[in-house]
């Protein structure tokens, strides 16, 4: 009997992250990093502290942002873990813990922050 791989857990997270990154990533970066700072299509008040605070005071946007961050992190962690192996750094328990552990930690922080934004 061959041992069953637990890869499906991280692979699903990786896949979901990949889909989000592919569908939304480009526009997200474009808006936040280029359009808003350059004022293209957005006024100077765009992404102001108050408007963001009120936007992310609602559970749905806050949770959405946290989920996006979390999935991006897992997507990154998964590929980085495997690519390090490809580049000659052997896959090990420690490496696995480092990659997926930081993604999990980051996700926890994101969820916590989302909660704080909603509650406070």
């Amino acid at each position: 009997m061959r041992a069953r791989s637990h890869e499906p857990i991280v692979w699903s997270l990786f896949g979901a992250g990949g889909v989000f990154a592919a569908l939304l990533g480009t526009m997200l970066v474009l808006i936040i990093g280029i359009l808003v700072p350059m004022g293209l299509g957005f006024g100077p008040d765009a992404m102001h502290y108050d408007s963001l605070r009120s936007l992310f005071g609602h559970p749905l946007p806050a949770l959405g942002l946290a989920v996006v961050i979390s999935l991006f992190l897992f997507h990154g962690a998964h590929r980085i873990y495997h690519t390090l192996h490809d580049l000659g750094i052997p896959a090990s328990k420690k490496m696995m813990l480092a990659c997926y552990g930081s993604a999990a930690a980051g996700s926890g922080v994101a969820l916590l922050l989302a909660g704080m934004l909603v509650v406070f």
């Binding site: 480009t26 970066v29 996006v68 997507h75 990154g76």
Partner: protein, 132 residues
């Protein structure tokens, strides 16, 4: 059995130098570093938002800096390349589909994915213009 013959095993060092497809593959995998970095950048924004207006304005102010523009251009390239390659291999991962009895060709799936990309981007843009 007769003793196994002596064989020579070639090393794998710098294997990516052997074929351009390998380098494209590593580049594709490499986009994940930018994806993760961008997640951390957004996370930093969240932290700042929770900490209060002063902290947030620092983050917001950073967006105006040339460093940020360079970072975002790099991220933009990475996300776009990621999206393109992700959609390219998508037909390999989707279960077999048929349309009017014929298998759906890969390029149709790819095109559909590009459309989804466009629509999702547009929706995001409209929402952003409305709410930010």
């Amino acid at each position: 059995m007769t003793p196994a013959p002596k064989t020579y095993v070639r090393p794998m060092n710098r294997w990516w130098m052997r074929h351009p497809a390998y380098r494209r593959y590593l580049l594709r995998e490499g986009t994940s570093v930018m994806v993760a970095a961008y997640a951390l950048f957004l996370l930093a924004g969240m932290v700042c938002l929770v900490l209060g207006e002063t902290a947030f304005n620092l983050w917001r102010g950073f967006l105006q800096s040339p460093v940020s523009v360079i970072f975002h251009l790099a991220a933009l390239a990475a996300f776009a390349f990621h999206a393109w390659t992700w959609f390219k291999v998508m037909p390999l991962t989707t279960p077999p589909m048929r349309f009017r009895g014929r298998p759906v060709p890969d390029r149709m799936i790819f095109r559909a994915a590009l459309w989804a990309w466009g629509i999702a981007s547009l929706v995001l843009l409209v929402l952003a213009m409305r709410f930010l």
